[in-house]
């Protein structure tokens, strides 16, 4: 089995004469929690869209979950998980209906869906909530369910877009615990965020400035390198030199 789940070289995206992402290269390993940081306008969203198969690069090369980022966008979409704080579940559908909906989108058969639904509900201790409307669940439960559904098709890599903004500290920790568990089980986690305290939870982080990856290492080594106490200071030191705004 290949242990590099995401590998990109010189990945570039231009819009007209504007280079949004400029020759970024990096590898993400199996089971890693990889933080992808950047200021507003640094090119983070554009880069992530390419990694998720939503847009094709202008040049460069790479693979995500074994598929070519230059031409296999559809395959990539099927083989990754995606969860964002903004788009999660349908509040006016029940827990079961939400699961069925996403299982259907990912093309699982009826039998597979039923089997995984039961397994998922048992694992989350949710079996009694099968027919409950998602809108009436507490936020922490919604988040857990949302992550479980984002991984219903057992993707090798899950993209999390600002997963815990605005969430209370206890719920947030329950969420990270679930992420650690998934990573320990071999799922690769790719987190984009501009909140530096989320960055501290990652195994390694990259920081984008002006379309380029300017730093990539463990939070500990980055703090050491910049001789500062927090990722927030590392980020501010790098981003202050940014030439382009939002």
């Amino acid at each position: 089995m290949n242990d590099i789940i995401i590998s990109v070289r010189e990945l570039t995206k231009c819009f007209g004469d504007f280079t949004a992402v400029n020759r970024i290269s990096f590898d993400v390993r199996r089971g890693e929690i990889f933080g992808f940081l950047g200021a507003n306008g640094a090119g983070k969203t554009t880069a992530m869209r390419m990694l998720c198969g939503l847009s094709y690069p202008t040049s460069g090369s790479g693979t995500v979950a074994g598929y070519d980022v230059m031409r296999e966008g559809e395959q990539i979409k099927r083989h990754i998980g995606y969860m964002s704080q903004r788009f999660s579940l349908y509040n006016d559908l029940t827990v079961e209906e939400n699961i069925n909906l996403f299982a259907g989108i990912y093309g699982l058969s009826k039998a597979e869906t039923e089997e995984r639904t039961t397994e998922l509900l048992e694992r989350l201790n949710f079996s009694s909530e099968r027919k409950t409307l998602v809108g009436s669940l507490p936020l922490g439960w919604k988040q857990k369910l949302s992550f479980a559904i984002a991984t219903i098709h057992r993707p090798e890599v899950v993209f999390l877009d600002e997963p815990t903004g605005g969430v209370d500290p206890v719920t947030r920790r329950q969420f990270w615990e679930m992420i650690y568990e998934a990573a320990a089980g071999g799922t690769t986690i790719f987190v984009t965020t501009h909140y530096m305290d989320e960055a501290e939870y990652c195994s390694r982080v990259s920081i984008m400035v002006d379309g380029e990856v300017r730093a990539l290492d463990t939070p500990a080594r980055l703090k050491q390198q910049f001789v500062v106490e927090s990722m927030d200071e590392v980020f501010r030191t790098l981003a202050r030199g940014a030439q382009r705004g939002e």
Binding site: A39, G166, P169, E177, Y180, A184, Y201, E246
Partner: protein
Amino acid sequence: MSAIVVDNLSKSFGAVKALDSVSFEVERGELFGLIGPDGAGKTTLFRLLTTLLNPDEGGAVVDGYDIVKDYLSIRSRVGYMPGRFSLYPDLTVEENLDFFAALFGVTVEESYDLVAPIYSHIEPFRTRRAGKLSGGMKQKLALSCALIHRPSVLFLDEPTTGVDAVSRSEFWDMLAGLKERGITILVSTPYMDEASRCDRIALCNEGRILGVDTPQGIVERFDSPLYAVSADNMFALLESSRKVEGVEECYPFGEAHHLVANEKFDLERYKTQLSDIENLNIVPTKPTIEDMFIKLMKR
């Protein structure tokens, strides 16, 4: 006299108790932070204090005026920056500022000295439509508009949400500048790391206030030994740590987990029991606002 006195304030929406008997006071000239997640009741509190809602129970006084009886006097004395961008997107930067000045019967010139440190950043774009500004620039324009009538009390509802770390830090520098001018500021944020920029803070959750103090004072109330623990397998570490006697709690905290110990905790025994965990590292650490928040939430 305090700039803001909140006394047993309650407000419900249907079955949801958005604010549940909240009381606190903000001194004149203080930079006071409401720190709490979504659903803590921060926005409801702002809407009550700016007289946009009436309370179900309790009351509040802002700059000496009662929020129910004297609502008109309050409206001319306070500046309010709502959480959602609320300026006119199809008016230019300059037109928005002129509009708010006109509403309050002042001119931009009269207040220019007060808004200049903020407005000067966006003045080069004064003919641009507000809807076309970047997030950081919108935020500066909204703050300029909230200040144009020289309010005595400024209410800022999550001004830094969705803003990147550099702009967030600049924004707090601007608030420090306004505080120097004697303006009382009540500001809310879901980010615990911003608490240190406030004179005093109230930690809030689900409509209640968990504690009010200086950031330092809040942290000093944390009265249990606290350790930072890390290892190769962070998930296994979490589960194993929780099984050791004397471990009150162990939760993820960025690069290391935080371990809250009680009187039965013994460091050597902990290390022995976790001897199969590779690269175990445990060191005493200082509590943060977030540790205290967790402790108060679980009480």
